[in-house]
Amino acid sequence: MARKNLNRAGGLSDKASDIILVAITAAVLFVVAYPLYYVVVASFSDPYDVYAGKTFLFPSGFTLDGYKAVFAEKSIVSGFLYSVLYTTIGTIFSVVMLYITAYPMAQKDLPGRKLLSLFFIITMYFGGGLIPTYLVVKKTGLIGNMWSLFLPGGVAVGNMIIVRNYFQNSIPHDLVEASEIDGCSKFRTFISVVIPLSMPILAVMAVFSMVAYWNDWFTAMIYLGGKGQPLPLVLRGILIKSSASSAQASLISGGYAELNKLTEMIKFCSMIVAALPMLIVYPFVQKYFEKGFMSGAVKG
């Protein structure tokens, strides 16, 4: 366009500013992505080469032994399976809870709506704190039970408000009204009109819960009582406490040095195995993030 060269006030031309913007963002990309890239490279490398600084860009002494050891390690495999179990049930539970709360709360003519709204929103700002909540969970017999991970969280109120606003703002009111005039009950309308029309926000919320359950370890640590540990809690033993299990020790014939080498490889590989599932999932719903937030953030 001819207009391009008409920049007033001595500003940069669009082309020059494009170059600068791309350069800045490329630098930011590098800073964010490099640590992850480094872990991937290190997971395929000989740990001695990693610690000698030979793996800044490419693997050195390429090996898959780390991954083999990860998949041979019982605690990691069982942690992975437990995480899959908790994430699956937790996500379904959370999304159902969100929906069955958000839909009634989106009914502008629901008597008592304001009071109910207050009832939920208060819990966003005030809580009983760690110990009183722990004592109630204990009293209700959930310690050591998988449901201790799901029930106390109950309704995620912040997300519930986003879903409620989505129902109010993004579901065409005419469709809901038409369905009700046709004789559908509110529940019927919810199932056959509102839910199918809310797939974008459903996808976003499902991914949010998925990520939360997959990455959670604190709840599992205090409520599960050592049983059925999910993957991040297993990783704590490997990454933070740096303990090698006796199972590893018995696998290795090469003595302490070999064991040490394997322990280091397992650190990198187990991080990749634990992080990968969520890193694969989120780009699929990424386009809905902003949209979901925008329509959800507008006050209804």
Binding site: G11, S17, I100, Q107, G128, L135, V211, M294
Partner: protein, 315 residues
């Protein structure tokens, strides 16, 4: 209830509203029985796991024993609070908690704004998409893994940072490095994700107009993007200031070593150790309550400021 039916009239309009308006309250409740049925489980869960623990906060003033329950245990007044304030590490924990979150706020508040201003100017859609995808990635990684990465990268023998610097410092044993580690890794993990609320806020029409007028990128940022995201930024700042005492337990606990405690000892970790590890239920609850009380005071103050600001700026 009169108010409510008024609201109904306004929001729905037309025949439907007139129909609703004419119904009695009892009738409307009956009409909505399915909605109340849906709410039953969420309400019960919220009462049990949110409201009963709130009621249980009173054990901060009692000598709680599990057999006597929340209300049956002996009343001890402010005993536990006095014990906390006379604990040798009390002032250190309060100072560390405030400093960690204050510095976190100062650094991690402006960065997402600057990032989103830059991202919004990117004109190559595919590149923009890639930038966003990569920047969001760390947010989806467990704090456990992030702390594992921090420990490996900062390791004195062969850690990435020492390899780059050519040193062999054990950063996690240096009290002076703790806050920097905590905050820098926090920015790495969440600054990209923090952009999301600032992105796509701008009316595209405004943009085209500015381009036609020959505004440079910098002028467009200054006159279009920045004013568009300012209300959200103010709101965010207020919310963050209200949670100033909320230093997350998880990351501090995972990065704490015996040698960096001078700066890494925070209230949240103490609450966990006293409560869960040592089973001092009442004492831990009292310490937690003190933390919450400070937060509530901050929230009220910030809210006051917010409503004043909104009178001036938003309306």
């Amino acid at each position: 209830m009169i108010q409510m039916s008024k609201a109904t009239t306004i929001s729905q309009g037309g025949a439907a509203a007139a129909r609703l308006h004419s119904k009695s309250l009892g009738r409307r409740i009956l009409d909505n029985w399915q909605m109340y049925a849906l709410l039953l489980i969420p309400v019960v869960l919220t009462i049990i796991y949110k409201y009963i623990p709130m009621y249980g906060i009173q054990i901060a003033f009692r000598d709680f024993t599990p057999s006597k329950g929340f209300t049956g245990s002996t009343w001890v007044g402010l005993k536990w609070f006095q014990r906390f304030f006379s604990a040798p590490t009390c002032s250190r924990m309060i100072r560390n908690t405030v400093l960690i979150s204050l510095y976190s706020l100062l650094w991690s508040f402006p960065i997402p704004i600057i990032l989103s201003l830059i991202i919004n100017q990117l004109r190559f859609q595919r590149y923009k998409r890639v930038v966003q995808t990569v920047l969001y990635a760390p947010h989806f990684i467990s704090i456990m893994i992030v702390c594992g990465m921090i420990r490996i990268f900062l390791s004195p023998s062969g850690g990435l940072l020492n390899l780059i610097l050519g040193t062999s410092t054990d950063f996690l044993t240096e009290a002076s490095a703790f806050r920097t580690i905590y905050i820098a890794s926090g920015i790495w993990q969440d600054a990209g994700w923090g952009c999301i609320i600032y992105l796509a806020n701008v009316d595209p029409g405004l943009y085209e107009a500015a381009k036609m007028d020959g505004a440079s990128v910098f002028q467009r940022i200054l006159h279009i993007d920045l004013p568009a995201l300012l209300p959200m930024a103010v709101l965010n700042l207020i919310m963050a200031a209200g949670g100033l005492m909320n230093v997350g337990f998880e990351k501090v606990w995972l990065l704490q070593t015996d040698l960096n405690k001078a700066t890494s000892d925070v209230i949240a970790v103490y609450v966990y150790q006293q409560g869960i590890e040592n089973a001092k239920y009442s004492y831990s609850t009292a310490v937690g309550l003190f933390n919450t009380a400070v937060n509530i005071i901050l929230l009220v103050i910030v809210n006051k400021i917010a409503s004043k600001l909104s009178d001036v700026e938003f309306v």
